[in-house]
């Protein structure tokens, strides 16, 4: 799901984050890791804030969404690509999320930005693009500020509330935006035959980007509910202190 939310991790904040109901699972983060993560999360919060403000100003000045993507694309590409670092954070263990989960989430964002909106220019002015951009922007601002405040050990309740409630609406909105955008891109992909390898060739392999996109769209069906219900469970645990015994540990 490009519309990302991580599992109950808090950006690597070690102690004192109120959501940790298992004190035995505290992590000791070195000062260097804490400093870096704090910087990273502040920078990302700022980046997505800039993105949000630019989008709002564009719409207020021009009154249309046409050309909006073009005006923010550099900033979007920069900050979204920078998020690849989050995989490294998991790999080196300064963030408690699994590498696979982080990898899937960041990869799906990179896929949308670089392999869909960047590469398939005709769809850049679709309304669905604005839909997922809004969803992503609000989510990321909430998420990164949540991590920032957690690391600084001063997490205002409303940020925690936002992080665990906004997704209820934003998740489906983001998914809808993404799916509609990919759907709009399909005819252009089919016509241009882009990113595809045809037979015969000496490596005896073929790849059809059009069918790849169809399969990607289909994969949302099993994946989205899993992620959504996972977040709902996290929400019950964190906000309402429910103790949930997982099926297998």
């Amino acid at each position: 799901m490009a519309f990302s939310e991580e599992d109950g991790s808090n950006g690597g904040a070690s102690e004192a984050s109120e959501e940790r109901e298992a004190p035995g699972r505290r992590r000791r983060l070195g000062w260097a890791a804490t400093a870096w993560l704090t910087f990273y999360n502040i920078a990302m919060t700022a980046g997505w804030l800039v993105l949000a403000i630019t989008m709002v100003r564009f719409y207020m000045e021009k009154g249309t969404h046409k050309g909006l993507y073009k005006s923010i694309q550099k900033t979007l590409k920069f900050f979204q690509t920078f998020a690849l670092l989050e995989i490294v954070h998991c790999l080196i263990g300064i963030v408690p999320t699994s590498v696979l989960v982080a990898g899937v989430q960041v990869s799906s964002r990179i896929f949308m930005v670089w392999l869909i909106t960047h590469s398939i220019k005709p769809i850049q002015n679709e309304e669905s693009v604005v839909l997922f951009l809004v969803a992503w922007t609000v989510t990321e601002i909430t998420r990164y500020s949540f991590y920032t405040f957690s690391l600084l050990n001063h997490l205002p309740y409303f940020i925690k509330w936002a992080r665990y409630n906004f997704f209820i609406i934003l998740y489906p909105v983001g998914v809808a935006g993404e799916l509609l955008t990919i759907y709009a891109a399909l005819p252009h992909v089919k016509k241009s035959g882009m990113y595809s390898i045809r037979l015969p060739n000496k490596y005896n392999i073929s790849f059809d980007y059009y069918y790849f996109l169809l399969i990607t769209m289909a994969s949302y069906i099993p994946l989205f509910p899993q992620l959504y219900f996972y977040m709902l469970r996290q929400r019950r645990k964190v906000l309402h202190g429910e103790v949930i015994v997982e099926k297998d540990d």
Binding site: L199, P200, N201, K202, Y203, N204, I205, S206, V245, D248, D249
Partner: protein, 308 residues
């Protein structure tokens, strides 16, 4: 003779599940599992994990009650391993699939390629050779499952069969589609490349089989003993001097041979996936050998001589 009492609690909820009295001191865990099944028939022995500590390691079936660090009233914790399926069943299913699936593509059964190609035959020799090699490989695996391998564990979790079959069947279909495609391009260096690759494949198949036989002879039928494998008179087993898991080394070699022979990128990718998995397994096995045997030969690497 003093009898033991055994109480079995759920490892997660600590609920008392079963109380067994008058248990013989020399009873094994396997026997206790059988007794537990009587009161909870849905938990057959293969899906029971009994341990002394809720978060501890599973006790082995062969462990004897009086040799465990318990008083005369023993408390065991139970964890449900989930539905189980036998290793033999899984292996037979996951290997029979590729055998038949490849043939569907080889014979160009309708609805795979265009209708004008239905039931036609490739004009490239290498395509026929590839079919023979691929089929031989999986027949060999099936026969080894039935007659050669001696498994430590009887069962594995049921969900593994879906995972494993998706992997084997999926890749088999993907490879077979291209090798048997009407637009297949034979290897760049022609018959030379095919002959060399075929030689690699055959040698590695013989090697892999030799290792399986050597491993089988390490362990008497019906037992679960573990010993350090050593080279035998069969030259193929001399690879034991350099690696812990030469069966995986030879398996890699076979698929590399097959990839070069068919010059098909999906085959190379399948080989890569297999290599990654077998390396993980080999490293694990190597570590267990080192832990279990003080005198384990130091020259050996897990899967690739001197390197990995």
């Amino acid at each position: 003779m003093k009898h033991y009492e055994v109480e079995i609690l759920d490892a997660k909820t600590r609920e008392k599940l079963c109380f067994l009295d008058k248990v013989e001191p020399h009873a094994t865990i396997a026997e206790i599992k059988n007794l537990f099944t009587k009161s909870h028939p849905q938990w057959y022995p293969a899906r029971q994990s009994l341990r002394l500590d809720p978060k501890g390691k599973s006790l082995k079936d062969e462990d004897v009650l009086q040799k465990l660090p318990v008083g005369t009233t023993a408390t065991l914790y139970f964890r449900d391993l989930g539905a189980q399926i036998s290793w033999v069943t899984v292996f037979l299913t996951e290997y029979t699939g590729p055998l038949f699936i490849y043939l569907l593509f080889y014979f160009r059964v309708p609805f795979i390629y265009g209708h004008k190609y239905d039931f036609t035959s490739s004009r490239h020799t290498v395509v026929h050779l590839a079919c023979i090699c691929h089929s031989f490989h999986y027949v060999k695996r099936l026969l080894e499952t039935l007659f050669v391998h001696r498994f430590s564990h009887g069962t594995m979790p049921l969900r593994n069969i879906f995972k494993n079959c998706t992997y084997y069947w999926g890749f088999a279909a993907w490879m077979a589609y291209y090798i048997n495609h009407p637009l297949y391009t034979p290897p760049t260096y022609g018959a030379q490349q095919v002959k060399l690759a075929l030689a690699i494949f055959v040698i590695c198949q013989l090697g892999n089989f030799s290792i399986h036989m050597a491993l089988r002879d390490l362990r008497p039928a019906g037992s679960k003993t573990r010993k350090i494998p050593y080279p035998t008179k069969n030259p193929f087993t001399w690879l034991f001097l350099l690696v812990s898991c030469p069966n995986y080394t030879y398996e890699m070699g076979s698929w590399i041979g097959f990839a070069i022979m068919t010059q098909c990128l999906p085959v190379a990718l399948f080989s890569l996936a297999g290599f990654i998995q077998m390396t993980i397994w080999a490293k694990g096995k190597h570590r267990s050998y080192l832990k279990e045997f003080r005198d384990y030969p130091p020259l050996r690497m897990p899967i690739i001589p001197f390197l990995l």
